[in-house]
């Protein structure tokens, strides 16, 4: 697949709300139980028109159940699902303006590619010439030229996935649901396809909802991510907000790597908190946006915000920002190509994780195991969360 000539946006900003302030899809207090097990628990969520929304969470968190309820294969036990203001929770799947791309594609083995794509259009009683035109459009969109006459068992994994995509887009649904569509692909193909999906979504202006357990994937494609755990929504935010401003300890630990230092709040002054910790001495951290209700808190620092040096930070001129400095010994070095991750055993005994980009090809000053280093980070690098 050729890459797009225009450079992609590197930072995702929130898409503007539509002129009408009503979200396209409103999930309102939806609950789903299977026997004694609650898969989705009073979940409420608004999804805007034209956005690429990701449902992220560990296995069994209920994200697939929620998706299936949006598609119509499960009915909620309680709550409403409003599409454009209309409650579709009880509407049968074949009557909803919603289409799904299935995890293992579910291509009809007895139909060729063209007939698979045309299947939904025939059900909509479209006249023949229109069907042909739409199918041709979809084939071009999904870059399936030359494969129209093939049957699914004659296609590669990547090709099958594109057919599934074309088929689910053919009816121009209001919402497209994607159920872990890239799980079966290898890394390179997955990355390429992620790019294509985002580009496609932008071009069509359609609302996409993707379910995935892969954080990187969610962060790459989505405008906003909803993190779920045990049937509940933990946080809904843009990728940046999710990563840099997680709402809870669980989210901070779920998304990406993190250093979590537990401690007690000592004092607060000038939008800075002083926290005493067992593992890292006294830390100065920026005040969180939400006021704290407890004094037992933890300080979360992302590894790439932890800087290492042999001598400690050079302090600025007078009025220097107070730095958090910790001394320790490097115990583990992992070279990963773009970055190197370090584990530093602090003098207090705790392990701190740091990661640094390998900006120079030949780095004579790279740290090695059993070197003494100073680890330091600014108050703004810290996120204060309740335990």
């Amino acid at each position: 697949m050729t890459e797009d000539a225009t450079p992609k946006e590197s930072v995702r900003t929130e898409p503007p709300l539509a002129a009408v302030d009503m979200p396209l899809l409103r999930i309102d207090g939806v609950t789903k139980r299977f026997g004694g097990f609650t898969a989705v628990d009073k979940l409420s969520l608004d999804i805007r028109a034209g956005e690429f929304f990701a449902l992220l969470g560990p296995s069994g968190c209920g994200k697939t159940t929620l998706l299936r309820m949006l598609a119509g294969f499960e009915t909620p036990d309680a709550g409403r699902i409003l599409l454009d203001g209309r409650d579709i929770a009880q509407v049968l799947p074949h009557q909803r303006p919603v289409n799904m791309m299935f995890q293992n594609y579910a291509l009809f083995p007895h139909l060729n590619v063209r007939d698979n794509i045309a299947f939904g259009l025939k059900r909509a009683n479209m006249p023949r010439p229109e069907i042909d035109a739409r199918v041709a459009e979809m084939v071009a969109l999904a870059k399936l030229e030359g494969l129209e006459k093939r049957k699914p068992d004659q296609l590669s994994g990547g090709q099958k996935q594109r057919v599934a995509l074309a088929r689910s887009l053919a009816r121009r649904p209001q919402v497209l649901l994607l159920d872990e569509p890239l799980a079966a692909l290898d890394k390179k193909l997955r990355e390429n396809t992620q790019g294509e999906l985002t580009e496609l979504q932008r071009r069509l202006g359609m609302t996409f909802i993707i379910v995935t357990h892969d954080q990187e994937e969610a962060m790459t494609v989505a405008d906003r991510i909803g993190v779920m755990d045990s049937g509940r929504l933990e946080q809904v935010a843009t990728p940046r907000q999710l990563y840099e401003a997680p709402a809870s300890r669980w989210i901070a630990e779920f998304v990406g790597d993190i250093n979590m230092i537990e401690g007690q709040l000592e004092s607060s002054e000038d939008h800075r908190l002083t926290i005493s910790t067992r593992d890292a001495g006294t830390i100065v951290a920026a005040e969180p946006r939400q006021p704290l209700t407890k004094t037992t808190i933890c300080v979360a620092i992302r590894p790439e915000k932890v800087k290492l040096s042999r001598r400690g930070p050079v302090s600025d001129a007078a009025g220097a920002i107070p730095m958090n400095r910790l001394e320790g010994v490097v115990t583990e070095v992992n070279y990963l190509g773009g970055v190197t991750t370090y584990k530093v055993k602090l003098d207090t005994g705790a392990i701190l994780r740091a990661s640094m980009a390998n900006t120079a090809r030949l780095d004579m000053n790279a740290y090695s195991a059993s070197q003494r280093v100073t680890a330091w980070f600014t108050p703004d690098d810290c996120v204060v969360l309740e335990q």
Binding site: A71, L92, P93, N104, P109, G120
Partner: protein, 340 residues
Amino acid sequence: MRGVSKDGRWHLWPILRGSPPRRRAPQDDVRCWKGKTVSARRIFARPARFAAIAPYLWMLLFFLVPFGFVLKISLSQTAIAQPPYVPQFDLTQGWAAIQAALAELSLDNFKLLISDNLYVLSYLRSVVVAVISTAILLVIGYPIAYGMARLPRRWQSVAMMLVIVPFWTSFLIRIYAWINILQHDGLLNKTLLALHIVSAPVVWLSTDSAMYLGIVYSYLPFMILPLYATLAKMDPALLEAASDLGASRSKAFWLVTFPLSLPGVGAGVLLCFIPIVGEFVIPDLLAGSDSMMIGQTLWLEFFTNKDWPVASATAVVLLVLLLAPMLIYDRLQRRQLEAR
């Protein structure tokens, strides 16, 4: 030690190939890894083929060779002798005797089959009965198999047991059970009389309806099981996809489920049609005596008329008639096996 290389691991190739272990070259790794799956299969294939010897010989002797005899007898004439046919090949009498015997073979029996209406009608009736029975079996068996395939997993094995168990309880018994019910003063008539649906006992036995009932009853498991096997293997996500794309339940069935079940339908249809053509017991016990199916004709010729040659000729023609369906069935079976 043979087969153990320097790193101490067992290598099977040298044991089977009989050659000394090679040093592993870089290209070997690729082939070896890819080859591990392939060659593992080939390793099994050789001894597995030996297993075929005994059954192969058995089937050659007791299945294939007898057909030669049927053909030979079909070309012979009946005689009051033991065994009741001439000519008899006596290998001890030398080549000339064999040649003489060969000269006596003729196609008279086949001419008889073609010319005499009795036989032609018998073949026709057999095919017609088989077609009708198979159609009824398909119409009845498909919903049952479909229902079974949609049961929750636990219940599916129970349902399959329930369908198979009658099949294991003696076929003759089950036909007899129907005679019990269908007789002039049997249970069916008694029930109908008691419910005032009829005013006098109806004749059920010795009719074509009784025969069809018996055939459908006996062959139902043969139709249900292949259908069920195919339907159970279908990916439920396909039906969801059809529904997602706008197909109602009935449309989804006809456009997705039914076409994908066709291999099972083919297997079930052939598994029933072919043996029903040659059925003997059911028409003999349940049908009227005005016209006979070919199985009955064969039996009559053989046991009552003691006319082995004509019986053999009947068998040969029946076999030729059924050859095409049997080959189709064999092809279907092989394709199913390869698809696994």
